[in-house]
């Protein structure tokens, strides 16, 4: 999406117009993240603005989820700097950030409705001492509507299809009215209708000025919806506009010996599902 197109869209309710376009949503300079003292990802320098979508692409174990967890403040910064909304990243401060973990993180068969799951996205605002208000319920309704799940709101979460559950978890992330959305493999195992619905939601969010960071193996998705790509292989291989980064040379550098075919329509990495 072009900068001028973004400028025509209304800012989110809790954002002043002067902040948009002037402060990058994410700014990382030579950042490195570690698990228990062992560096899992290093030398990451990226920038993403409001309304941009950034795809994190790389083989399994390349550091995609590590970067998301690093952005959330769940991993210690081993080197460099990370700024979110212009402020230094602080652990536990997730205001304005929505997170969609991999679907396997949820407990199947839990006796809880989709609406209750989506309401969880408001818990940061609700805290411990108050109950849901009309504004919380209205945010939940809006998130359900945006993900096309209003009709299934009362259904038990575990009774939904995998694609609907994924969209439900996205609705949970949206209920918190995020300005930055972190999505961990959201397209895994989705059938075509659910994939199309999720793509439409992401496009709509970009139009509203939400910055999206999405980990994926799906290069077509990156081309479809993402403005920028960060290629990872335990370190930063390449970062920049999608078409400039998704080159044969860069992909082979990221995926090692895996054969990569690139033509003007599609990129195929054998062994990775699209």
């Amino acid at each position: 999406m072009s900068q001028s197109a973004r400028g025509n869209n209304p800012p989110p309710a809790d954002e002043t117009p002067s902040e948009l376009g002037t402060v990058p949503t994410i700014e990382m300079a030579n950042a490195a993240f570690a698990y228990e003292g062992v560096v899992a990802l290093d030398h990451v320098s990226i920038k993403a603005d409001a309304g941009e979508a950034l795809a994190l692409i790389g083989p399994n174990g390349s550091g995609k989820s590590t970067l998301l967890r690093g952005l959330l403040g769940l991993l210690p910064l081993a080197d460099g700097s990370v700024k979110i909304f212009g402020h230094k990243r602080r652990p536990g401060v997730t205001e304005g950030i929505g997170y969609l973990p991999q679907q396997e993180s949820t407990e199947p068969n839990f006796p809880i409705s989709l609406r209750q799951v989506v309401m969880m996205g408001r818990y940061r605002r609700i805290g411990f001492w108050r109950f849901a208000r009309a504004s919380d319920r209205s945010a939940v309704n809006e998130a359900l509507e945006m993900t096309g799940l209003t009709a299934r709101a009362r259904a038990r979460f575990g009774s939904l299809s995998g694609g609907q559950q994924q969209r439900g978890l996205l609705a949970r992330a949206l209920a918190g009215k995020p300005r930055l959305l972190l999505l961990d493999e959201p397209f895994n195992g989705l059938d075509q209708p659910n994939r199309a619905a999720l793509l439409a939601t992401l496009r709509e969010l970009k139009l509203r000025g939400v910055t999206i960071v999405v980990t994926t193996h799906d290069l077509d998705l990156a081309r479809d919806v993402c403005d920028k790509v960060l290629l990872l292989a335990g370190t930063q291989v390449a970062f920049g506009p999608t078409n400039q980064v998704l080159t044969l040379e860069n992909l082979q550098a990221a995926f090692g010996d895996v054969q990569v075919e690139v033509d003007e329509h599609r990129v195929v990495i054998p062994g990775h599902d699209h």
């Binding site: 997730t94 997170y99 991999q102 839990f110 409705s113 969880m120 818990y123 940061r124 299934r152 038990r156």
Partner: protein, 270 residues
């Protein structure tokens, strides 16, 4: 208040408590852990009596030791918490028997400790049960939504900026106080029946968490009162009768739940 009326009040209080906390224990799949705690109360209670302090204080200290040990083993050995719970369950029981043997000059009613003695509970036992219920209700009303989120999706909860381990610790505390105040009425061995069976029965009958939190305490209170009446009628152990009624109710719920229309269970049929 007659001893029977006092027993009714206490069994009602612990019934509501075990139903509510049991629902969380069952959903978190922590029944084996709760079972280990119930057995840990046994040596604690024996030592508490031998030292001349209260039974409940000894039980609380023993529970704290067991929780600490299980947590430590779970951190050192991945997946070790389950095995530790199983081993400490037997170990706690053995420690209780040994402690009793060493202090054989102090008269201890072992049957009451193991199988409960609801007909001889004191007013203090009732007050402690009421306090535990009040604290648990407060925790569930204010932290219940966070407890549920942390159980349902720990990674998502962490992503919200909270620590799931804090909710895990809260559940351990709730389980501990439930076990400790239930023990005088139902005993170290049978307490787990009131914690697990009504909640598991509720789980079989509904797909709604809110409904579970109503059905489980109801079944638990029902088990307690029915068991108490049966024990009076047939002059047998109240704890055993209560545990048996809870078990029978679970069996019935599993059968009914299997044949129940999904809509009745609260499932929304597409």
């Amino acid at each position: 208040m007659s001893y029977f009326d006092r027993a009714l009040v206490v069994i009602t209080l612990v019934g509501i408590l075990t139903g509510l906390v049991g629902t969380l224990v069952v959903l978190r799949k922590r029944v084996l852990f709760a079972q280990a705690l119930t057995h840990a109360t046994f040596p604690g209670a024996v030592i508490g009596i031998l030292l001349g302090v209260s039974l409940q204080l000894g039980a609380v200290v023993a529970c704290a030791l067991i929780v600490g040990t299980i947590t430590l083993i779970g951190r050192i050995t991945p997946g070790g918490a389950g095995a530790a719970s199983g081993v400490l369950l037997a170990g706690g029981f053995a420690a209780g028997a040994l402690a009793q043997a060493f202090g054989s000059n102090v008269p201890i009613d072992m049957t009451a400790l193991l199988f409960g003695s609801v007909l001889s509970v004191s007013t203090t036992d009732g007050v402690l049960a009421a306090v535990a219920l009040g604290l648990s209700l407060l925790a569930i009303v204010f932290a219940g939504k966070h407890l549920v989120y942390a159980m349902f999706d720990p990674e998502g909860y962490r992503g919200l900026g909270y620590e799931p381990a804090a909710m895990e610790a809260l559940l351990m505390v709730l389980t501990t106080i439930t076990v400790v105040v239930t023990m005088p009425a139902v005993g170290a061995i049978l307490t787990i029946a009131l914690i697990a069976a009504p909640a598991a029965a509720a789980r079989a009958l509904t797909a709604r968490l809110g409904v579970m939190l109503i059905i489980a305490p109801t079944l638990s209170v029902l088990s307690g009162i029915a068991g108490l009446l049966l024990s009076r009628e047939f002059s047998v152990s109240a704890g055993a009768c209560i545990a048996l009624v809870a078990t029978v109710l679970l069996g019935v719920a599993l059968i009914v739940g299997r044949w129940m229309p999904r809509r009745l269970r609260g499932e929304v049929v597409a």
